[in-house]
């Protein structure tokens, strides 16, 4: 913005409004930007418990570095105009005619500078999306940006009206209401739904992925701090959407091992009733389908029809196909 203001100032007489504005703007930016970066930045959501959370925090702060000067610059300009150029104070000598109707330099500078800002934001955003393996967002069934880590813990997140459950395919495929995540581990969340669209939002993990029926939506993150995690449904899914939340924990690897093995044993009886593990959670062959479609020719839920092939636990360790 300083470009334009400086240019304007050269074209007009009287006090050098452009220079004043530019100086004020530079001073304000020089104060506000570092202030935000150092004082507020480290506390910005969603925190830094995982790679994707800290990535989102970093990106947010970087965007703020550009957004604050732009916003304050525009407000400063408007404030300056309101204070200085009011008719009740006499205002300026009116400029009419072609001079007031446009200024090629300013217009070009404006377009060029906004284009540069926008393209930089695009390049930055793309890098920040691709390098950290999708930045914690749901990448669909065939993720194209995958983590570098050799070992990935897959956790299947199942949305249903109205709760989330979690299946751990590498631990016998048990299913539980509680989300437990080991620390310093790369996780692949395989998010799917039994019915309508939900959205798995593990706030502190910096992970968000829609849960679609018959779809496997994969999101990656790597944990690096212990703590409590809030999980909320972020896509309107019916009456209890607002109550569709629960809490998870990032725990040490050994605690997680103990928890997982004990659950595997304790829940063995239930696990036996569950359908064989697959990337989309296919309803049981006799599962209630609501009898909305009366033809009964192609009932839901025959695994062979819907293509969701069961996979062995060994296959399940590496999430990508």
């Amino acid at each position: 913005m300083s470009d334009q203001q400086a240019t304007v100032s050269r074209t007009a007489g009287g006090p050098n409004h452009g220079a004043r504005l530019a100086v004020a703007w530079l001073v304000i930016s020089a104060i506000v930007d570092p202030l935000f970066w150092f004082a507020a930045g480290p506390h910005m959501p969603p925190g830094d418990m995982t790679s994707s959370a800290s990535g989102a925090q970093f990106d947010f702060n970087v965007l703020m570095m550009a957004a604050l000067p732009v916003t304050l610059g525009v407000w400063l300009y408007f404030g300056y105009a309101i204070v200085n150029w009011r008719a009740s104070k006499g205002g300026s000598d009116l400029i009419g005619g072609p001079k007031a109707r446009g200024n090629m330099k300013i217009q070009t500078a404006w377009i060029a500078s906004t284009t540069i800002v926008v393209l930089s934001a695009f390049v930055f955003g793309t890098v920040e999306l691709i390098v950290p393996a999708g930045a914690g967002g749901g990448e669909g069934p065939q993720p194209i940006w995958t983590p570098t880590s050799k070992t990935v813990l897959p956790i299947q997140v199942i949305g249903q009206q109205w709760k989330f459950t979690y299946r751990y395919p590498t631990y016998g495929g048990f299913e539980t209401d509680t989300l437990m995540v080991p620390n310093n581990t790369t996780i692949a969340f395989h998010v799917t739904s039994l019915d309508v669209i939900h959205d798995f939002w593990a706030y502190q993990l910096g992970v968000k992925a829609d849960a679609n029926p018959q779809q496997d939506n994969v999101a990656f993150t790597t944990t690096h701090a212990l703590g409590k995690v809030t999980v909320r449904c972020d896509e309107l899914c019916g009456i209890w959407h607002g109550a569709m939340f629960n809490y998870g924990h990032v725990v040490s690897k050994t605690t997680f091992q103990q928890w997982a093995s004990s659950n595997e044993t304790q829940l063995a009886a239930v696990t036996k009733l569950l359908p064989p593990f697959s990337w989309t959670y296919t309803a049981d062959a006799n599962g209630a389908d609501g009898v909305y479609y009366p033809d009964n020719v192609d009932k839901y839920s025959k695994i062979q029809v819907y293509g969701a092939q069961p996979v062995s636990v060994a296959q399940a360790v590496k999430p990508t196909s």
Binding site: E175, L194, G238, F245, A288, G290, V291
Partner: protein
């Protein structure tokens, strides 16, 4: 009519174009008309919000006269078709009020941090589960429940009569499946309230209400809203049918 206009424009009106007295009725009459329209609008809004939007089934009070440490007994029933009201064909829960009457509600006042003994008479037939995980009992006291007097911890919904409904409080981690009755039973109950002479299963369990007061939603996890995609519409999304609140009070 060219307009080479002075700047800034003159303050006084350059041309008065419309006078008063255009209206058929006088000023006070217009004021009256407007005020009454406003009053009607306000009345309509208040009526709609109070009489319609805020209307809800009655809340049964299990907390009144409750003394500390004493357990609360609560009896519910589930029925395949409520048989009355605006949605006679919907499945529903009913609650027995302390005076013994069956009330079509799922809202209860319960004292905090108190043991609640629940008896559910299940009159509905069952089906398989979309998610068999909800066939397990968990979150009750001792993770225990009895079916017709016998303890059980898991129902395989693909066998026998399947699961009719569940009683689940997701935020408290409580889940109890209710075994279905035979849909072909001669004495199958077709409309509420059902009586014990009709085919039913009795499920009993206990749970502790939380220490913090507030409203805790509960629901059924069996897709029993027939005629809706995924079986989760209609009664499954309507308070007093398959959804309700524990209103935990101190």
């Amino acid at each position: 009519m060219g307009i080479a206009m002075a700047w800034p424009p003159r303050d006084e009106p350059s041309e008065t174009v419309r006078g008063k007295g255009r209206y058929v009725v006088g000023r006070s009459a217009r004021l009256g008309i407007f005020s009454s329209l406003l009053a009607v609008a306000v009345g309509l809004v208040v009526f709609v919000s109070m009489a319609y939007l805020r209307s809800e089934p009655p809340t049964l009070d299990f907390a009144a006269g409750h003394s500390q440490g004493q357990a609360v007994d609560m009896t519910l029933q589930t029925v395949g078709a409520i048989g009355f009201g605006t949605h006679p064909s919907w499945v529903s829960y009913l609650t027995q009020a302390p005076d013994g009457k069956w009330v079509h509600t799922t809202l209860w006042d319960l004292p905090a941090n108190t043991r609640v003994n629940v008896t559910i008479d299940q009159y509905d037939s069952g089906s398989a589960l979309r998610n068999p995980q909800v066939g397990a009992v968990y979150g009750t006291l001792g993770n225990a429940a009895t079916l017709n007097g016998k303890p059980f911890s898991l129902i395989d919904a693909t066998k026998g009569n399947g699961v009719g409904h569940t009683f689940s409080i997701p935020t408290l981690g409580i889940n109890v499946p209710l075994y279905g009755v035979n849909g072909n039973a001669k004495n199958f109950c077709n409309s509420a309230p059902c009586t014990l002479s009709e085919a039913h299963n009795t499920v009993e369990f206990s749970f502790m209400t939380p220490k913090t007061t507030g409203q805790y939603g509960w629901q059924c996890f069996v897709p029993c809203g027939g005629g809706y995609v995924y079986g989760n519409g209609g009664p499954m999304q309507t308070i007093s049918f398959m959804d309700g609140f524990l209103k935990v009070v101190s």
